[in-house]
Amino acid sequence: MAKSAASWLKPVPAGLYCAPGDFFIDPAQGVPRAIITHAHSDHARGGHEAALATADTLAIMRLRLGEGAPRRPQALAYRQPLRVGDVTVTLLPAGHILGSAQVVMDYKGQRAVVSGDYKRAPDPTCDPFEVAPCDVFVTEATFGLPVFTHEKPEHEVAKLLASLTDFPERTHQIGVYGLGKCQRLIALLRRAGYDRPIWLHGALRSITDHYIARGQNLGPVPSVAESHDKLAGEIVLCPPSALGDRWSRRFADPLVGFASGWMRVRGRARQRGVELPLIISDHADWPELIQTITDTAAPAIWVTHGREEALVHAATAMGRSARALNLVGLEDEGE
């Protein structure tokens, strides 16, 4: 099957195109028909005519894209097969963020799965990844190097709480991506027993409110703008771009943290001037990438974005037929 798989699913400039279903998956530009794996902006671009995704993904796209949201959205629940053209499409949880899905395509007895972004580690804010055995597995490779093994998130949260004890006079200002990481870090802090308010930068408000509306119990999460205080000894979450920016001058000698899988590498943390690196990632680490290739049992592995070279090398060594797709426009917005 390895050869014929390429014939109905192909990488083209706009993205991954499924011919018998006449749709793109996570295209880099507006298209007539798209399937969206999740709502991070490098996957969920504006300007599509029709788009199929989970209800959560569509709701978040509306929040983030406004006018640019798909004109004809169609929600599809996990595990519900849907006929699209000659292809049967099923969405399965990807474990990446709320609403994130793998796209399973069955056509003429062959199955291809596009992982989108995914992780295998437990996350209290989204459904866990489900393995779908397939003939072609299209995988992400954001952390596609064997140096990336993410720490247990509980361990990293403990690091943050220890720092609050060491430096109670300083505001702990933690950079997080607004969709997914922010809400997951709050949920992790709550599970560790931290019950003080967790203060939010304005840019994190609407998505966090959506998570709460969807039933996440995140405790008190006031906006920084509501405070007249320097928030010494408190946790403030903000987008990475606000770290070390003028906005941060309102705080008490801010201690800058950053929650990201990239923090595993010291040079990356230092480059950003981070004082408290927290290795918390919403992407699969290297052992998870390898484990998933094994679990899907797919003879063909296509690597979409990230450090493709090493993963292609490793998959080839595992006896798979592996190739890099070199799709444009996919970055690591979620990290």
């Binding site: 190097l145 140096v147 060491d166 000698d253 595993r264 590498v265 001037g273 090398h313």
Partner: protein, 525 residues
Amino acid sequence: MKPFATLLDRLTYTPSRLGKLTLMRHHFQTGPDPERGLALAALTDGLDISFPVRRVIGELAEGRFDPELFRLSRDYVGDTAETLALIWPARDAPDPPQLSEVVAALATLPRARYAEALAGWLDRLDAVGRWALLKFLGGALRVGVSARLAKTALAEAFGRPVEDIEEKWHGQVPPYTELFDWLEGRRAHLPVSEAPVFKPLMLAVPLEAADFDALALADFAAEWKWDGIRVQMAGGRGETRIFSRGAEDITASFPDIAHAFPHHATVDGELLVLRGTDIAPFADLQQRLNRKSPSAAMMQKYPAHVRLYDALELDGEDLRALPFTERRARLDAWFARVRPHHCDLSPLLSFASKEDLRAAWQGTRDEGIEGLMLKRRDSPYLAGRPKGHWFKWKRAALTADCVLLYAQRGSGKRSSYYSDYTFACWQGGGDARHLVPVGKAYSGFTDEELMRLDRFVRAHTIERFGPVRSVEPRLVLEVAFDGIQKSSRHKSGIAMRFPRIARIRWDKPAGEPDEEETLRPMITS
């Protein structure tokens, strides 16, 4: 190992001195013996570990990891030891090795078994632990902590003055168990060391204008302030040690001086490189300071010398309680008698009036002289920086008008401000006239001025390169500096010593700053 690894990890990411002190204090207060003492050793004088880290890492990586994956990882991470620490497979090991276990094993382990032993330890550690162990074995920690800072943290942890620690320090050896016993009150006295020990130095305070006005000239002795480094030479029982101002033992860098001083004495002086009677530029002294065991050629090329100005102990007698004039008289008599090699005396200067004194201060531009020292004649030798006894009066700084060219974001508290400034002078004439960078400064301004400078930078940015912005060349900075040296590393061919912002000339047009040629005559080396 885990508390030590956590400490190193946090220290590398914590830029501020206060933050580092807090982390080390907690470690010394809460750590068990002998682990905290070994950590203290690693942060100060080291443990004399000679573990061939690079070779052993090479051995371990080979065969264990796919070479292609290791190469790609190494290229991404940028550091081989860190790559190994990260790529090493995680095992849920409940029993990480202690530092003491590692140190004890290394004392007896044959070199052929290093790789096997290291692999065993790495298997029992998490990623941060593996990284810290490799750093520990490599010797130089490079976590931005000086020996002095670690001792300060130790002193703060147990509510003692750092001078107490320094006075006891050189009689103690890792893992410093007796020192901790003494600090925690389980031991009243520490055994007296056989070797010569460091005695805390008496330091001078800068002379302010008000001090000068209030100064009663007759009460003070004056000396030149020499442009070298302050050292204490302590000899006795057939051994001589040389300590820096920060109590660091630098004997290994200056065997020529130490061997030439077989005296039972502790003296205070300035370490210089001296050729005949000429003091060599400070850069020459730095050549010697950077070398742990200098070659004979090196010692001949950069001959070291100590210019003495005080004595703490002579022939076994502690002189510290005596007044300065008495100590100095004893030093002179002792010097005339024993004639120590590679040493001379810093002459006492006399001034008829304060006007003469000021004139001498203003006139000092000689190589090797930084200004004047004023020492109260009746002061005993007091540890630390007591007020009103010794004054340092640095010669007036040189200044130049320069134009701000680039600004870079600071770190820590200053990370939201453009606080590091590269400035330039004009070079060439006519159409070829252009600005050439001559230095970089990040001090000398107030917090209010910093905010205004930051606004200026943001409002006049031409281009951005990561944390650096180039700005329109229109703001004139009056830069103060201690000297100018030739430099092949700078485009302009000159380098300033200790540049800082003296004044911000918001009023002055940028066409007027100095020509690079006007700086050239100030070059001293």
